[in-house]
């Protein structure tokens, strides 16, 4: 086939295919794209205690451990936006000490080979224990181990559960709107009713 004919073939088929628009997509969203949107909403509906220095212009720090795909979605979704009137910064977490400065950390319990960080979920939680850091993950027992918000799947949808006692224990205030949408879990044992 001569190059001229090939080019015309390319031209014509290209036009034809471009014209055939696929049906509005009913395809699913990437889990990380949806997680990123949830994380931003979690921040919107949570209040942090004032910083000891009183600074109000310091950026909101979102730390991500072991999920570069999620980092990318967070970058894109927060680009040029303010949360609580503050700029947003996304940190890739590799050492536990970095997590303590964050407002929210997302811990990927099973990172892919390319994302692996040699720090376990327990170690991340330990690093931010008793600090006003909103900890988020998607793994069984995350709330029992001291985490605050855990994603879970219901059918094809992403839902979340909140450890309400943990929120208060670290000095965070969460909007009732968030709590209304979540499955609220009490992790502290409820004291037995006093015996009569």
């Amino acid at each position: 086939m001569s190059w001229r004919r090939l080019l015309y073939f390319a031209l014509v088929t290209g036009l034809l295919v471009s014209g055939v628009r696929a049906q509005p997509s009913s395809d699913a969203y990437s889990a990380n794209a949806v997680r990123a949107a949830f994380l931003v909403n979690f921040i919107r509906f949570t209040e942090w205690p004032a910083s000891p220095s009183g600074a109000t212009d310091a950026p909101m720090l979102i730390g991500v451990a072991g999920n570069r795909d999620l980092e990318d979605y967070l970058w894109r979704i927060t680009d040029g936006k303010l949360l609580h009137g503050r700029r947003v910064r996304i940190l890739r977490l590799t050492v536990p000490s970095d997590a303590t400065a964050c407002h929210l950390i997302y811990i990927n319990p099973f990172p892919s080979r390319a994302d692996a960080v040699p720090v376990s979920t327990e170690e991340w939680l330990h690093a931010v224990r008793d600090r006003p850091v909103l900890t988020v993950s998607q793994t069984n027992n995350f709330l029992r181990d001291g985490g605050i918000i855990n994603f879970y799947t219901e059918g094809q949808n992403l839902h979340f559960e909140i450890a309400a006692d943990a929120v208060e224990a670290v000095g965070l205030k969460m909007s009732s709107r968030l709590l209304a949408l979540a499955r609220v879990v009490r992790t502290k044992p409820v004291p037995a009713a006093p015996a009569r």
Partner: protein
Amino acid sequence: MLHPLIRTSLLSAIAFVAAGRIDAQLPPLPNPKPDALDDIPLEQLMQLPVEFVTGASKYEQNIQRAPASVTVLTSEDIRNFGWTTVADALRSARGIFINSDRFYDYIGNRGFTRPYDYNSRTLVLVNGHRINDAIFQQGSIGTDFILDVDLIDRIEIIHGPSSSLYGSSAFYGAVNIIPKKGRDYDGGEASLAVGSEPSIKGRVTTGRRTNNGVEYTISATEWYSKGEDDFTLPQSWRDNTGLTNTVARDRDRMHHQSVYGNASWRWLEFEAAYVKRDKDVLPQVFFTNLTDPSEATDERAYALVRVTGHPNSDATLSSTLSLDYYSYEGRFSPVFLGFNPQRLDSEALSLNYETRWHQGFGDKHALIAGFEYQKNFIQDVSREDSIDPTQSSSISTDSSYISPFLQFDFNLGRNFWLSTGARYDYYSTGEKRLTPRAGLIWNASQATTFKLLYGQAFRVPNVAERLAGEGAPGPNPDLNPETNESWEFAANHRFNSIWQADAHLFHTKSSDLITDNAVNAQEITTRGVEAGFSAYFPSNIQLRASGTYQETRDASGQTVVDAPRTLLKFNASAPIYENWLRASLEVQYVGDRTDNTGASMGDYLTENFTLRAVHVWGRWDLSLSVYNISGSRWADSTNTGQIQSVPRSVVARATLEF
């Protein structure tokens, strides 16, 4: 001749733009784009259908649908296994073997290597940008590679022909190397590596992504190696030269200097790289003498600007303009009487423009259309005989090519994908080539994928072969392109979130291969089977193994030079003390091969071990590697016979993150 071609390409480009505009005027999709997901109320967010993929990352998902068989190695692999060059990384990949004459490293792929072919049959790319030069078409992968391996984010190895997207030299495969971005450093790194040869390598890198969206990386590396102090000359050297020396002293030194930078802001991206490598050439490689120096300097550089836009919600249009420079200078003192010390110089300067439109149609179909144009302004090759000027020669030429390409990916119902593509290459030197590719992909289940792949490829004769041939037959301006036709059947299965396995059957037939006599004379067929598995445990233990059995024969049924039948690879990496100390072991077996005289070179087994400590005292990454633990000394084939491999060595590295 070129003008109507350019005009037609432009017309087709305009037509595609117009097609995109028509799309853009359609009402927007009801579904929000991922970037705007946070603007919808939480209640609706909880109603969105979500796709869950184990170990989800963009490229892993893509691999399932790629119309090729792909291996991905990551920056963590590079650090865990202590790889010092791209060649080291490739050694661990399924089906690939490396032939090193300790001057350059050559990729053996699909059962084929030809000693001293300059890697012209595997395309090397950085971020999709061609590294193979405009003189020898050499894809550098050793200490002459343009990037420090520490800067690599991942290495994608495309097994099998890829000329339908990349053109010449993507003959047996392509290796695309993706450097890290500023966000991967978010600060800087200073690194020092000290080796037992002795060698010393220092690197300083800084990179970040700022709040106003600017992202950049700048890095510089300097690397010296003394190589092997006392290189034992093989019997073949003594037989051929009639000399009685047994050792070449201090003839293996290497000096590498490189700088790299990239910067991006929104739709604009810049990248520039430069490397200069000086290397002593061991006497065995070209039968050089022991009294005068024999050494070579390779320089490569490129600078590119890339613009990426989204003409409609599902489209990506990117255009890249790049300037490439290549220079080679060799100073050799042959041992044979009648051959005088000589100096070889080559220089090339090229301008390359590529534009590529990727149009998705929902998540179902996709179209890639584009064209590449390259103008080689300078292609100079000269030889200067220090004593007899009549033996000197000098060639100056220039050339260009233009290549439109097209690929369609169709979703044929729920789980079947058909990918078809073709590229037409038109060279000012007269070569014309249409290379098609087709792949049928069946996602039989969430966990199982089958692929049936067909592809053709070609390699145009390089300047040296056409115009500056060395040795008796001289150059041959009438050479035709080499061609390749391949079939592959591949199966991949993910047993659970930890284990996965793959198997491949391939048949590849290469015709019109250019021989040492500068004629299109050789035909080679390889049949092979490959299988492998990988496992990644939540405890951070990683295992990877693969085996290849292949038979490579020429038209008369004879086995060909340097074509091992068996390749076995095993890589394991595991935390051994808490989470900060990690041990990694790789074992490689390469079966028996023959040299250019038909003599057996035997098989070999080699092992490398690396102990790595991460986040020591907060900011340090420390490692200790032992290469070739058992100290086996195998031979690799050269065009003059055989050359002994490098001895056991140890390298200690310290990297400070700041």
